[in-house]
């Protein structure tokens, strides 16, 4: 396998009343080894459920309706969607780990940090002794810059701050040296100065290890700071994908342009902020044409009728927009 992870034609549905509603529609993603890959989009665009689907952790009533997720594990290639429960458990936490948006609620409140770190080890190394586990746990806490590891091990979640908890979550996620880390908005709930600490830490750890990262966020700034490659999600689809520098310098899709203009106009010279008009259409209420058509300033007749395909407009740069097709053809 060339890639660490290959998602093909992934579709996720939910139930609204008795109707099946698509939340994610034919997503393809390929993650290279030792890469940090950003996924950016607004709430409800399908970025977080993609991560949950990779680990088989979609909450009820969400389901994978179609597609494949292939993963290059240590013992050969695996189709994650076809694994048995037991096989999936062996992948979780051992080869693919995840950290979450709310560190305050991601640790079980009634157990100590020590117990929860030991758990992560013992699920995958049943024979490991207490002494060895403790040594590894302390080492990991040290790596994530927890000031007093010994004391922290004996603490409960409510005794620690958000920043510390997110460090601990990272320590737990990396404790088995996974090949892939899914980071679902890991800094959204944190203050800026703490966000800076965590992003700094993640960049450091990435340098030291072979772990690939999928960074899911709504913040283009976080992408710019941490990622090499990025995919922009809108209404359950990828609308643009490229190397980070390429995306920021040769932005192609009107939605991505809008997002960038909205953030860069903040604090800029002009008084009036740039806004993308309208709101994100919720899942299942998509028109058959381009899903961004309603809000697009350059919307054409064709855009309302027909769905544009995701095409390569420059080497490694993909975009789902008819305007780009025209430029390529011309």
């Amino acid at each position: 396998m060339d890639h660490l992870l290959e998602i093909r034609n992934l579709k996720i549905t939910t139930l609204r009343g008795k109707d099946k509603v698509y939340l994610l529609d034919s997503v393809d993603l390929s993650i290279r080894k030792k890469c940090s890959f950003g996924v950016v989009g607004e709430s409800g665009c399908g970025k977080s459920i993609t991560a949950s689907a990779i680990l088989g952790l979609l909450p009820y009533p969400l389901r994978v309706a179609e597609g494949s997720i292939r993963f290059d594990s240590r013992d050969g290639e695996k189709e994650l969607l076809k694994l048995s429960r037991k096989e999936m458990r062996q992948v979780r936490g051992e080869e693919i780990s995840m950290i979450f948006q709310e560190p305050m609620t991601s640790l079980d409140p009634i157990f100590t940090v020590e117990m929860q770190m030991f758990e992560a080890l013992s699920f995958h190394h049943p024979g490991m002794g207490k002494g060895e586990m403790r040594e590894i746990a302390l080492e990991m806490l040290h790596r994530v810059n927890i000031p007093r590891p010994e004391q922290t091990l004996a603490s409960y979640a409510h005794q620690l701050s958000g920043g510390q908890l997110q460090r601990i979550m990272i320590a737990i996620a990396l404790i088995n040296n996974p090949r892939l880390l899914l980071a679902d908005e890991p800094t959204t709930a944190l203050d800026v100065t703490i966000q800076a600490q965590i992003l700094h830490l993640m960049n450091d750890l990435k340098e030291q290890r072979d772990t690939s990262i999928i960074m899911i966020t709504h913040d283009l700034g976080v992408i710019a700071e941490t990622c090499e490659e990025v995919a922009v999600f809108y209404a359950g689809q990828i609308v643009e994908q490229a190397q980070v520098v390429e995306l920021f310098t040769h932005t192609a899709h009107p939605y991505t342009k809008g997002l960038l203009r909205a953030v860069t106009s903040l604090g800029g010279a002009q008084r009036k902020l740039y806004t993308i008009p309208g709101i994100v259409p919720p899942g299942g209420q998509w028109s058959r044409g381009c899903r961004f058509a309603e809000r697009c300033e350059q919307c054409m007749e064709k855009c309302r009728e027909e769905m544009p395909a995701l095409r390569e407009i420059a080497p490694g740069h993909f975009c789902r927009c008819f305007l780009q097709d025209r430029e390529v053809e011309a």
Binding site: P282, Q285, S287
Partner: protein
């Protein structure tokens, strides 16, 4: 986009869409409404439905089996069981409604006061509630009835008193929740007077859990009345009560099992209907509490 007119988020709240219609849409809610509706109809139309005088004894037809004349058979005095069941529904509902009325009225008032004014008043009210709460409800009701004397009114009062604390607690808890919401702070920030905040903003938002509580308390009150009558300390003969009918029937169980079956069936179905209705009502009014 045919869904465009649907609400963006959350369920419709009362005030803009009929609660009854929402209940009807839910199969469970529909079952509860039908059940409760039938019991109410039976109680209201008792004089027309009942075929015999409930107290009229008939020495020729003691312990008659169910048949064309006596649909549900007769008891050991020869009284028509069907007629007694029909009038029993009336007694059950009367006791239930008045008792819950007493409990809800006092509970609402006390809960509002305790929740809104806090401090010593609250401590005192809640202490009294704790005292009432410290007795098992059936025992307390029996105790009160034995002090006041057995009669329908005293049964109602006893069951009412027993149920006050539940309402006080529910109302107080929701007043406190509502009070800490941003929209109450908002009402204060636009300069609304305290009393107006209480009536205009707090009351409507407390009503939902209150209504749910009332429905569930109604089934509880009917149950308590039946239990008390079963023990002989509730509704006194010759008034028909499902509880005392069941209790009397035990002596003739072997010969006349219908005497046990029909009252038991009606008690169970009535309480079941109210519980189902209460559950569905909670789902509609207060989706957060959904089981």
């Amino acid at each position: 986009m045919k869904r465009k007119d649907r609400p963006v988020a959350g369920r419709a709240l009362p005030g803009n869409e009929s609660i009854l219609r929402q209940l009807w849409r839910d199969p469970m809610g529909r079952a509860g409404m039908i059940g409760v509706g039938l019991v109410i109809l039976m109680a209201l139309l008792a004089p027309w439905i009942a075929r015999f005088d409930v107290a009229k004894m008939n020495s020729k037809a003691k312990l008659a089996a169910p048949g064309a004349e006596f649909w549900f058979g007769t008891d050991h005095f020869g009284r028509d069981v069907f007629s007694r069941i029909v009038y029993g529904a009336r007694v059950s509902l009367e006791v239930g409604i008045v008792a819950v009325g007493i409990a809800a009225g006092f509970g609402y008032l006390l809960g509002m006061i305790a929740g809104f004014f806090e401090g010593r008043t609250e401590t005192l009210i809640m202490m009294v509630m704790d005292v009432i709460f410290a007795f098992p409800s059936i025992l307390l009701a029996l105790f009160i009835v034995s002090a006041l004397g057995t009669s329908i009114l005293n049964t109602m009062i006893a069951i009412g008193i027993v149920n006050i604390p539940v309402f006080t607690r529910t109302v107080r808890a929701s007043v406190k929740t509502v009070k800490s919401t941003d929209y109450i702070a908002n009402a204060r920030s636009i300069g609304l007077k305290k009393m107006k905040i209480l009536f205009r903003h707090v009351t409507p938002n407390v009503l939902a859990p209150f209504t749910v509580q009332a429905t569930l308390a109604l089934s509880g009150a009917i149950l308590t009345e039946a239990s008390m009558s079963f023990l002989g300390l509730g509704i006194q003969p010759p008034n028909p009560s499902w509880g005392s009918m069941l209790s009397d029937a035990r002596k003739y169980m072997e010969r006349a099992p219908w005497l046990v079956l029909f009252p038991a069936l009606f008690i169970i179905l009535t309480i079941l209907s109210f519980n189902i209705l209460g559950d569905s009502l909670r789902d509609v009014l207060d989706p957060k509490l959904k089981l």
